[in-house]
Amino acid sequence: MFEQFKNLLVHKLKVSPDLITPEATREDIELDSLAVVELSLMLESELGVTISDDELLEAATVGDMVALMEERGAKI
């Protein structure tokens, strides 16, 4: 799941892959509020996972975002 999430960040939001670790915060990977809305839309359209931008904003790290995806039972 982490790798899928990372691929989305790298290929759709053009985040540098080196920055993406489970411990990385939103600030570390330079996701501002607009990018978080985009990410929410992409999780739904690309992976079929519904996570609101507010929920993503509450997740402290990449690892927490991935945990949210796992909870929602993403289609792999």
Binding site: L13, K14, V15, S16, E30, L34, V37, E38, L41, S45
Partner: protein, 406 residues
């Protein structure tokens, strides 16, 4: 503002002739049109345009930055980097509060709007990108430049349709004259070769339909002209007061010595048939420069290659200027860059004066007998002390710059 001497210390171009001043200037000098078949317009009534060749935004600006920028902003940032490097100014060391940004643009980012409108229709409003507005708003042109270069002084985008780039340079000159800034990054940018925007131009009958041979479609002042060919790109100039530029030892490429603006107050798209509005702007620019109607040696005309504009502008030049200046329209090569046209032509006019070389008007093979001015059909070396760069926009908005040698 008469008597204010403003120096051009840096120039940058992204045009259908190439990325950078050097390839763009070389292409304009060659007199070879950049118009070609455009696959994006495949379903349109007119399918030719003048595109910037080989513009890879990911390489030029970085993929993360480019992702959030409409092409009209991308073009401007690349041209601005070139202009600042040319001026020898380092945004890391300057006093940003004294640096202004005044840029011209006609239509913002219609490509972004059209793409997101498709998302709206197919997927609903909940899938529309949060970047729609921050990418497509015209003012983002200057806002993004401020972010890129730490320019925290006055920051604005002017929109006078196809006069936007010229108007911006004039307003920038005013800001320097009023001592509101020490440096102004100015010019204009446009990217509106999209199916919807070009359908609109085609429907109003403004575009050349010479699709059988696009390279001869843009033919300003020629008897066989039938409309303009749309182009895209950006032109940027770095302006400073002349004494400031000289004090820091900058190379002065040319001087903006006058600016005039006016409105036709006549029709939403057609120019005034006698060019009354553009004549007012020419006279205002000359007065601002402290120059007379016999002092102009060269004019970079608006010269769109539409039947009405070229006739009205030529009649105005014949009636207004007594020095028999050599006129050119660089739109024969570049196409019509719309809101960026005046900015690109201001840069080209600076180069024309600097090098003493008037570029040719492409495709002038059968000059309109009703046009009684001297139009350059080949590159012409000549010393130039004073030149004009004319622009006319829909809505009857006119702007003229008087440009002098360094």
């Amino acid at each position: 503002m008469a008597g204010i001497d403003v120096a051009v210390t840096g120039i940058g171009l992204v045009t259908p002739g190439g990325i950078g001043v050097e390839p763009s200037w070389a292409r304009v000098r060659s007199g070879h049109s950049t118009a070609a078949f455009d696959p994006v317009l495949e379903s349109n009534p007119v399918r030719i345009s003048c595109r910037v060749p080989g513009f890879d935004a990911d390489v030029l600006l970085g993929a993360r930055r480019a992702l959030r920028l409409d092409p009209f902003v991308r073009f401007a940032l690349v041209a601005a980097r070139e202009a600042l490097a040319d001026a020898g100014l380092d945004p890391h060391t300057w006093d940003g509060a004294r640096v202004g940004v005044v840029l011209g643009n006609g239509d913002g980012g219609p490509g972004t709007v059209e793409a997101q409108h498709r998302v709206l229709l197919h997927n609903g409003p909940g899938r529309v990108s949060p970047l729609l507005l921050p990418m497509q708003l015209p003012n983002m042109l200057a806002g993004q430049a401020a972010i890129e270069f730490g320019a925290t002084g006055p920051n604005l985008v002017v929109s006078t349709a196809c006069a936007s780039g010229t108007t911006a340079v004039g307003v920038a000159r005013d800001l320097l004259a009023l001592d509101r800034c020490d440096v102004v990054l100015t010019g204009g940018s446009e990217s509106m070769i999209t199916p919807l925007a070009m359908a609109g131009f085609a429907q109003m009958g403004a575009l050349s339909r010479r699709e059988d041979d696009p390279t001869v479609a843009s033919r300003p002042f020629d008897a066989d002209r039938d409309g303009f060919v749309a182009g895209e790109g950006a032109g940027i100039l770095v302006l400073e007061r002349l004494q400031d530029a000289r004090a820091r030892g900058a190379t002065v490429r040319g001087r903006i010595v006058g600016y005039g603006a006016s409105a036709d107050a006549h029709h939403m798209t057609s120019p005034h048939p006698r060019g009354a509005g553009i004549e007012s702007a020419v006279r205002a620019a000359l007065a601002d420069a402290g120059a007379g109607v016999g002092d102009v040696q060269h004019v970079n005309a608006h010269g769109t290659s539409t039947p009405l504009n070229d006739l009205a502008e030529a009649a105005m030049l014949k009636r207004t200027l007594t020095g028999d200046p050599l006129v050119t329209s660089t739109k024969g090569v570049t196409g019509h860059l719309l809101g960026a046209a005046g900015a690109v032509e201001a840069v080209l006019t600076v180069l024309t004066v600097e090098h003493g070389l008037v570029p040719p008007t492409a495709n002038l093979t059968n000059p309109d007998p009703g046009i009684d001015i001297k139009v350059a059909d080949s590159e012409t070396p000549m010393p130039i002390d004073l030149a004009l760069s004319n622009s006319c926009g829909f809505g009857g908005q006119n702007a003229v710059l008087a440009i002098a040698a360094a």
